[in-house]
Symmetry: C2
Subunit: 264 residues, 2 copies
């Protein structure tokens, strides 16, 4: 990406994205600022989903919920248009992806509620700051993610198992990685499992269910964190009539710094 | 209270309360175990209230939400009957207290949702464990609570200002008190203000809006925490058709230890 882009502030980026001039993924943009996932549901499903996130805050860390019908936020960003400030959106009907678009103005309804959900990008930046390599960043691939046997607490129709992301961590940095991420409960918090993939139902680390496999070196331990793919996964399994999400990697760039998330 | 009572486990206490043999306040019972506040609302109000707590987690730390119509919990206690396991309940209609009862079986409806909300009892026990005197406990009175000018984030009809509780802390223990309570976000977390009541709109510390005034010694600083009276206050201001709460001090004794709350 051009150096110009990297120099843009979150609000400048949102303006560029809003105008349709930038439609690519947001990886590496506005370093230090929180990027967030999106789930938009009709209000009829919003209570059960909000309750599901309340019961499962580790995989589903809600940063902010819009008012029904509103394209605005107040906490994570002002000067925001939720219908245009993600570079790309996915429209689902009855669980089927029907369209990928750069604006959802044409799909907007007064009963839509937007859930802004924390993302591991935030804690990866803190891991790096603590001197811990993040392999998927080094190898420039998507983090490997796996279905597990860890049951979630259900709410209404929403139920299922947790999806986890995995990062190999050198044996002598595992405790530090736990401490860094434990301080960030708004973005998944501490790992859910350290070193034993089979214990949580993962058979082959080289065959992730989502994302890409990464190299695990001899002195490294696979460490598993609750993953933000979980809520989308759970929603899609219920095949709701209508859902909008962001496209993978095409996130909202917010005005809140990753470090600020610790104190919200 | 008799020593016998103090020796009872949480589940033994709940059985005693359920049977109607104990209807008094729960202060000092099952030391070390989390006690919790109750708000029961019809499902029609539950989304806005859950959203209100999501937006205002410091004064409104939700520990668990029941399924609609269910008298059970799964996290904070098993072997529980939400309609009988609080020693005393208050029934409100259109914001007016109409009845105080020891069982709400006669008022139960299939659309009722129970919100189990964290309480400062939990962090007071941790403050004591850290060697910090809690004046309201020493003086055997209710903690002093004050209306403030701190605006809450609104959700649907629910809006208002934060209520805070105040504990005088010796100057040389203030930082420790912040650290102890900061580690307990499920029960209000760190203070919201230290040392300047006027800054948050409190005119006279000797004239609390709820609870009782306590002695503040010369070397002590008034420290203010978000208070669990806030959600009840906010609900009552909207004069909803039907609400049930616990009676003040007559809490749910849960199976979860105060220290465990830090890791949930």
């Amino acid at each position: 990406m051009s150096d110009d882009l990297k120099d843009l502030s979150p609000v400048q980026l949102r303006h560029l994205i809003r105008s349709g001039q930038y439609t690519d993924n947001t990886s590496g943009l506005a370093p230090g600022y929180t990027q967030a996932n999106l789930v938009i549901l009709p209000k009829s499903l919003a209570y059960d989903f909000l309750l599901f996130t309340q019961r499962n805050p580790k995989p589903c860390p809600v940063l902010e919920v819009s008012d029904a019908g509103s394209k605005k936020l107040t906490e994570m960003a002002t000067d925001i248009d939720l219908a245009n400030d993600f570079p790309k959106y996915r429209i689902y009907e009855k669980g089927e992806l029907i369209q990928e678009v750069t604006s959802i103005d044409d799909y907007w309804r007064d009963d839509l509620v937007s859930f802004i959900i924390g993302c591991s990008f935030s804690f990866e930046s803190e891991l790096l700051a603590a001197g811990i390599e993040v392999r998927n960043i080094t190898e420039n691939v998507n983090v490997p993610m796996y279905d597990t046997n860890i049951p979630l607490k259900s709410a209404g129709e929403f139920h299922g198992n947790m999806v986890v992301s995995m990062r190999p961590i050198p044996q002598n940095q595992v405790v530090q990685a736990v401490k860094v991420t434990n301080a960030m409960p708004k973005v998944h918090g501490a790992p859910i499992q350290i070193g034993d993939p089979e214990y949580i139902g993962i058979k082959d680390l080289n065959d992730p269910d989502y994302g890409d496999a990464v190299t695990i070196k001899d002195d490294e331990v696979p460490v598993f964190w609750p993953c933000g793919v979980t809520p989308q996964n759970v929603i899609m399994q219920t095949k709701p009539d209508f859902v909008i999400t962001h496209s993978p990697g095409h996130m909202l760039v917010t005005d809140v710094k990753n470090t600020e998330l610790k104190y919200m």
